[in-house]
Amino acid sequence: MAASVHVCNTLEEKLTILADAAKYDVACTSSGSDRRGKKGSLGNAFSAGICHSFASDGRCISILKILLSNECIYDCKYCLNRRSNDHPRATFTPEEVCTLTVEFYKRNYIEGLFLSSGIVKNPAYTMEQMYRALYLLRTQYHFRGYIHVKTIPGADPEIIERTGYLADRMSTNVELPTREGLETLAPGKTHQKILAPLRQIQSGIGQHRLSQGKSPRLERHQINAHLPGNIFERAQALELEEKSARAMAIMPSSEASFVPAGQSTQMIVGATRENDYQLLMTSQALYQRFDLKRVFYSAYVPLNEDALLPEKDTPVPLLREHRLYQADWLLRYYGFSAEELLSPEKPNFNVLLDPKCDWALRHLEIFPVEVNKASYDLLLKVPGIGVKSAMRIVKARRSGTLDFDGLKRIGVVLKRAKYFITCKGKMMYHIPIEEDFLTRQLTGEDARTTWEMGHPQTYRQLSLFDDMQLVAPPTVEDTKKTLQGQL
């Protein structure tokens, strides 16, 4: 290949190539770990996470997201770094990764490192290189910031275990929710191969937590304690593998932590024919059976041409991705389950309404809700009332009844909520609780944002020639230039 002849020497060139290759990975959070700084070391971890910048696409930049290498032995159809693409390749040395992380961290550019990689030579070798980078960073560079590392499916379980003691979060990308999808688009990968490290790490986290006297499941947001029937409560007990002699031997010291911020994964939206129902059911199963901390969704950006993939000019399904995130939040913070939001008969989200509004309109019998009396879980079912607002309402009503002005003062946004609540038995305006009317009102409120998200390329400058079908005849110079080959 012509491109691989070009050798990248400077750090800046490598960084550009390997950041560019990593940008389709969604996870950029630095949350879930709480670790104080220490004299002589660099860095801490802040449990809520810190975003440090926002890129031109509006996505947050929290950690230095790079690949160790973008060379790959696999040929996954959707991936930019697949073997068959003619593309500049580069590989960092572990020392370069450390320098970049530490120096960026000191300038407050980032919260830590996100390290992923294409598969160089074989999975075991790649994982070893990643482990080496992390080991150097933690021991030689005394780095105490956040580290998110990808597990490479197919790597040796021992090296994965060792990496777990150095990282805050680990993740393995499920990529596609169904077996068939994965087989068609990622010929080198299988479901078992991907699920094996997920299971291993989940088991490791569970055992480590047990040994610290905690429950094997990760802590979820405190609001879930007030939500009967939330998805985490309904999950069965985790199957923990017997802690092996191998794991016991590796464990560095008693106060070491093992993937304290939990595991995450990512699914591609829109590359295959799976519907929202399948995606959301898969997420729910991952939360329940693998105790994942997060599932990320990545709207498919067409990069490669292939008969099995959507056309290259297919718009990026941003609105669909947005709806999936909204539903994902409803699962984790609002006590909803996937079956309540979607069903095989209605497998996709409403384009015009967010999933919670959509649900509320199908359950008008429980509305309006009296703000001064309703329980947490009922308050959270009201469109427009979130976890923070619900907590403030419950706090404030202990010392007096709330009216609509009071709600505004404590920061509850009434834009949507006003259609679904009463204060002291009265609604804000005289509004009929009627499906058609409410649908009209609510879609009107959101029409603009929804439209913009679904049609990102709608606003552009008019072009006289393209839009008015005018044809400018080529001039003599044009003809000359064409002949000489300069365009």
Binding site: S41, G58, R107, N108, A396
Partner: protein
């Protein structure tokens, strides 16, 4: 109407609250305001209160004891706000606080409580923005220097975060608007100090072009955005232009 005035600094404000309370004129007959008073009122007398550490200490102790330590943190947060009305708002809040005790913090439906709550929330939010968006650059030999221009006085809340984050580095954060700097020598506690114009320009000149990682960061920042998802409006929502003034990647 008697109006008690004091300088915009926490100790002076607590002293002012002490004297206003001790004057026993009735809460409705007094007001508290910050100096300089912009428009004097005709039918009011003004009393300027100088800072007194002993009185301030008493007020601080009784807020912590009679209301709660959380209430003290809230008052301290509100006192860092840029608003001119914060002092009076804090006084009204304390009247409620000393009457109701610790549960006053939950009474968010009350206008006097929600006022102080929203003042301190603004300060906390802005502090968090600067946790995110403060940018250091290397000044030879080995000092990390940052400049900020916050609306509220966030430096006292911001500096402890960076002390924990970089305990063994020499760093300085300068609040350009107030000419105050937080200075943190290696392995020591930080301190706040005032800053002259010359010192500021000197630091600015010294860091010019000295940091090799600036261009690396810029190219990373450019590479990480996905062109097909370009969305300047979302970017502006998350990171308002106002904060970009001293950010490396936007310079």
């Amino acid at each position: 109407m008697v109006i008690f005035t004091c300088a915009d600094d926490f100790e002076a404000m607590l002293t002012c609250i002490y004297d206003a309370w001790a004057a026993r004129l009735g809460h409705h007959n007094i007001r508290l305001a910050l100096e300089p008073v912009e428009e004097m009122e005709l039918f009011a007398s003004y009393r300027s209160i100088p800072a007194d550490p002993a009185k301030a200490e008493k007020v601080a102790a009784s807020i912590k004891k009679k209301i709660s330590p959380a209430a003290f943190r809230m008052v301290y947060g509100a006192a860092l706000h840029e608003s001119r009305e914060k002092l009076d708002a804090i006084y009204r809040f304390l009247v409620y606080g000393f009457h109701f005790g610790a549960k006053v913090l939950d009474m968010l439906g009350e206008p006097v409580v929600s006022k102080v709550f929203s003042l301190q929330r603004k300060v906390q939010n802005e502090t968090h923005f600067f946790r995110e968006f403060t940018r250091f650059s290397l000044v030879p030999p080995q000092i990390y220097f940052a400049q900020i221009e916050p609306k509220c006085q966030v430096l006292p809340l911001l500096a402890p975060h960076f002390v924990d984050r970089m305990p063994s580095e020499y760093w300085i954060i300068a609040d350009k608007r107030r000419r105050v700097a937080a200075v943190h020598p290696k392995d020591e506690e930080f301190y706040l100090t005032s800053l002259t114009d010359e010192e500021l320009t000197q630091m600015e000149a010294a860091r010019e072009g000295a940091d090799p990682f600036v261009s690396l960061w810029k190219s990373f920042f450019a590479a990480i955005g996905i062109e097909q998802r370009r969305n300047a409006r979302c970017q502006r929502n998350m990171l308002p232009l106002w904060y970009r003034k001293h950010m490396t990647e936007f310079q």
